[in-house]
């Protein structure tokens, strides 16, 4: 039979193609099914609620003790044989990493840090082949390392080891790393906010210092020649006041302690202004134990002295009162000086006007933050009418963190 003519050859060729095509399809389907089976056997992404339970561990990822637990949780969640968390100095927490494998993991982690790029490294087969591990007989078959970066700088790595790591596992691990980065940034933000609060108190201290120290030392200098006993006392008051206003402990203080510091401050100011400055106190003993934000009254007294004596003619009279009003302690500071224009004051408190009302707005902000928005400063004033500043301090301290 001649294959070259007649339809017989054509039919045969078509049959041949058909057989080939069928075989190809079968092979394709087989491979596809195997791949699908492999994937379904391997790993399904963890549910959302188990991820969210990890968030606190993420925030404490590099704290000793906590990172071990994070590694264990991650290994359980992502079905990994071993997980290690490393910071810049080396491994801080590990789960499922035996003593003989530890060196290997350490080497992997350090290598990842050296790369300083935020990417997944995945190795199949013996990691020793990739010259990443010093141990050529490393029992781990494959591993993945992911760098952790916060605000652009590397802070550590997450290493996963398994006999066979699926793509899904590596992807989930990488997602976990992103989540961990977000949580770590959040922690940094909180820390930054605490620093800001401290900086606000620091700014008050800085505001106290230059003028006041200059004037105080000047006044003490004048007394050294004429009245050395008084000069000595003033130096002690000066020391007391600076010790209080530069102390570092705690955001809150008792009214009694703040009053003691104000006493030193007033004595120094009295030395400067002589009999022009008169301070009267009316403090009920019950209110002395009220917890107030540290340095919240002193700037107000300073303000009162400035308005009551410096910018007005004649004597300045300042009254400091404290009493109980139900569950509140109410402190008022009153001067009979020049007063202020309410509109300008409002602008100053809103922060639109910088200048010498920084103390007022600073105290206002800190009162609001410590006790809530309703515990703002109340200022009654008009030009020429003096100024009355009222602070209300709740004795019930709901969210007072100190």
């Amino acid at each position: 039979m001649d294959l070259n003519d007649g339809p017989g050859g054509l039919v045969l060729a078509m049959l041949g193609f058909l057989v080939l095509g069928l075989a190809g399809t079968a092979v394709f389907l087989l491979v596809k099914r195997r791949a699908a089976r492999h994937a379904s056997e391997g790993f399904a992404p963890p549910p959302l609620n188990s991820i969210s339970s990890l968030l606190p561990y993420f925030r404490a990822a590099f704290e000793p003790g906590k990172s071990d637990r994070l590694a264990a949780r991650l290994a359980g969640l992502l079905q990994l044989d071993a997980v290690a968390v490393a910071d810049l100095d080396g491994i801080v927490g590990a789960h499922g990493v035996g003593a003989d494998e530890f060196e290997c993991v350490r080497a992997i982690a350090e290598r990842q840090l050296a790369i300083e790029r935020n990417q997944v490294h995945r190795h199949r087969g013996n990691p020793g082949d990739g010259a990443s591990c010093s141990d050529p007989y490393c029992p781990q078959k494959s591993y993945a390392t992911i760098g952790i970066r916060v605000e652009g700088r590397p802070v550590g790595t997450l290493c996963a080891l398994g006999t066979s790591l699926s793509n899904n596992q590596v992807r989930a691990l990488s997602d976990m790393c992103r989540l961990m980065e977000a949580q770590l940034s959040l922690r940094e933000l909180k820390h930054a906010r605490a620093l800001l609060e401290e900086a606000e108190v620091d700014s008050l201290r800085a505001q106290i210092s230059p003028h006041f120290i200059y004037n105080a030392l000047n006044v003490i200098a004048t007394f050294i020649a004429t009245d050395s006993v008084r000069a000595r006392k003033l130096v002690i008051e000066f020391a007391n006041f600076t010790r209080y206003s530069f102390r570092k402990a705690g955001r809150f203080t008792s009214l009694a302690d703040e009053l003691r510091a104000i006493e030193s401050y007033v004595l120094l100011q009295e030395a400067r202004y002589g009999s022009r400055l008169k301070v009267t106190l009316q403090i009920s003993p019950e209110s002395l134990s009220a917890r107030i934000p540290y340095l919240s009254l002193q700037p107000l007294v300073e303000n009162a002295i400035r308005h009551g004596v410096e910018s007005a003619e004649g004597d300045g009279h300042i009254q400091i009162k404290a009493h109980e009003e139900g569950a509140l302690t109410v402190v008022t500071i009153e001067d009979d000086g020049a007063g202020m224009d309410p509109d300008r004051l409002r602008a100053a408190l809103a922060g639109n006007l910088d200048g010498h009302h920084v103390g007022l707005s600073n105290v206002d902000t800190r009162m609001r933050r410590a006790f809530g928005d309703e515990f703002h400063l109340i200022i009654d004033t008009a030009p020429g009418e003096g100024t009355l500043i009222t602070l209300r301090i709740p004795k019930l301290q709901r969210d007072l963190k100190d």
């Binding site: 006493e263 106190l281 009316q282 009920s284 509140l328 004795k395 019930l396």
Partner: protein
């Protein structure tokens, strides 16, 4: 004649209270000396103020009556009232002060960091304060009836109105000085008539002999008395004192933990000294008013001076005793209403001045309403039930909360709720069943002896089975409340010379 003197005494006390209320601001010292201004209330003053707030109707009227009726067993009751302060001093005073908590809900939140426990504590505190006001108003009703011959409700209404007025207008409040004076006035108002009665008895034939025979003439125990009831009552009084919100709020005035402890040391001495007086009245009553029955017994203190002394001195001294009683009701009610209004305003209103005033008005009005629709058989019994409730709720929470770091929020809440419900259920069943002799009735009438241990046990069991929440925070809190106070270096330069100021 008698009624006129009594009425006069009561009116004088009411007027004085209002005057003090109006002028109370003057009691803060006006000075230009910081050292004087920043001097805290001395422990002695503070202790007297606690005595002023603590010694109420049950102590002033009830104890003497109960001794006259129930005999020797009742002599243990003042012991219970006093011994509670020893436990308060040993276990609670200083740590509670260092926690910087003003009210019990504040403490609960600081310790447990849980809003739910805070709410439970608030509700329990409100129940204790609210029910504690009622016997004060009952006492006032009785006093008005006996001393001035007026309808009973006028007394309750007068005390509630005056307290409400002074608290709302910024009056008596919790001013240490005023409450301390109230204590010494109570002592004087009982001691003077007692001294006169003693002189009169010494002049009388067989006077002192009758007193010495007081406990032998009548059978010592009434039908209802049983050892269990006495023990349970004592337990309620001793433990319940620790959980009284208005007493605990007073410790906030102390500047630090050590000073709170010094105050706590003086209080039991003052209170013990005071109780000698109502005990003497009780013994005199047993000797000279043998026919007194339960139900009338609470009036004994008011009737005794008139009975033993003739004519004008008797009437006048009766009036003095009645005035002292009224001062006791006013002081305690005022302390309770302030504590109540603080918690109510904090939980349900804004914690500003207006919220506090509304809370004070609502508190006094509602407690007055309750007191008008109820009547009291025995002041001591009523107060003992409130103490039992406090002992089964607040006290386990406070003691375990201060001394056992493992106590969890769920444990505290479970213990307080179950302890409180046990006491209330027992009392309701007892009221429905009526009072009879027998062990079941005993258990229901005085639930403290079994309800308090149960409450402790539930707190411990639930805490051990539940997971501790935020142990780091608890540890920080524990460090804060148990750390000794630091003494700052003495400031020698504070010795003043006035040559240059």
């Amino acid at each position: 004649m008698n009624n006129v003197a009594g009425l006069l005494g009561l009116l004088v006390i009411l007027a004085l209270t209002i005057l003090i209320g109006v002028y109370s601001r003057k009691f803060s010292r006006t000075t230009s000396d910081f050292y004087v201004a920043s001097r805290a209330a001395r422990p002695w003053w503070n202790a007297s103020a606690i005595g002023g707030e603590y010694l109420a109707s049950a102590s002033y009227l009830g104890v003497a009556g109960l001794i006259a009726v129930a005999g020797r067993n009742a002599l243990l009751i003042p012991l219970g009232y006093t011994a509670g302060f020893l436990l308060l001093l040993m276990f609670v005073a200083a740590p509670l002060r260092r926690s910087n908590a003003y009210t019990l809900p504040d403490f609960a939140q600081a310790r447990f960091g849980s809003l739910a426990v805070r709410r439970v504590t608030a509700i329990v505190s409100i129940m204790i304060c609210g029910t504690y006001v009622v016997p004060q108003l009952h006492g006032a009703a009785l006093t008005v009836e006996v001393a001035a011959g007026l309808p009973p409700w006028t007394g309750s209404a007068a005390v509630a109105a005056v307290v409400c007025l002074t608290v709302v207008t910024g009056g008596m409040r919790s001013i240490t000085f005023v409450q301390a004076i109230q204590f010494w006035f109570k002592v004087a108002a009982m001691a003077f008539p007692l001294a006169f009665m003693a002189f009169a008895l010494m002049g009388r034939e067989n006077g002192l002999a009758a007193v010495s025979m007081a406990f032998e003439r009548l059978p010592g125990d009434s039908a209802e008395a049983s050892p269990y009831r006495t023990v349970s009552l004592l337990m309620a009084l001793i433990l319940g004192t620790i959980g009284l919100p208005h007493v605990l709020a007073r410790f906030y005035t102390s500047p630090d933990g050590g000073s709170a402890r010094r105050t706590g040391t003086i209080v039991p001495c003052l209170v013990a000294g005071f109780y000698l007086l109502p005990m003497s009245y009780g013994v005199l009553g047993r000797a000279f008013m043998p026919a007194v029955r339960q139900g009338e017994a609470d009036a004994l203190v008011l009737l005794l001076p008139d009975l033993l002394l003739d004519g004008v001195p008797g009437a006048a001294l009766s009036a003095v005793v009645a005035a002292g009683a009224f001062s006791a009701f006013l002081a305690t009610t005022s302390g309770l209403i302030v504590a109540l209004a603080a918690v109510v305003s904090q939980e349900f209103f804004h914690s500003d001045v207006a919220g506090f005033q509304w809370a004070a008005i609502i508190s006094s009005a509602s407690t007055l309403a309750v007191s008008l629709f109820t009547s009291s058989v025995s002041l001591v019994e009523t107060v003992a039930l409130i103490f039992a409730f406090s002992a089964a709720t607040i006290v386990p929470m406070l003691i375990l909360g201060i001394w056992w770091p493992r106590l969890t929020p769920s444990g505290a809440a479970a213990g307080m709720i179950s302890g409180g419900s046990l006491v209330v259920t027992a009392l309701v069943i007892h009221t429905i069943m009526g009072s009879t002799a027998g062990p079941v009735s005993d258990l229901l009438a005085q639930p403290a002896a079994w309800a308090v241990p149960t409450s402790f046990a539930i707190m411990i069991a639930v805490s051990l089975t539940s997971k501790p929440t935020n142990p780091a925070r608890v540890e920080r809190f524990m460090r804060q409340i148990h750390r000794p106070d630091f003494e700052l270096p003495a400031k020698s330069h504070r010795k003043r010379d006035n040559t240059w100021t």
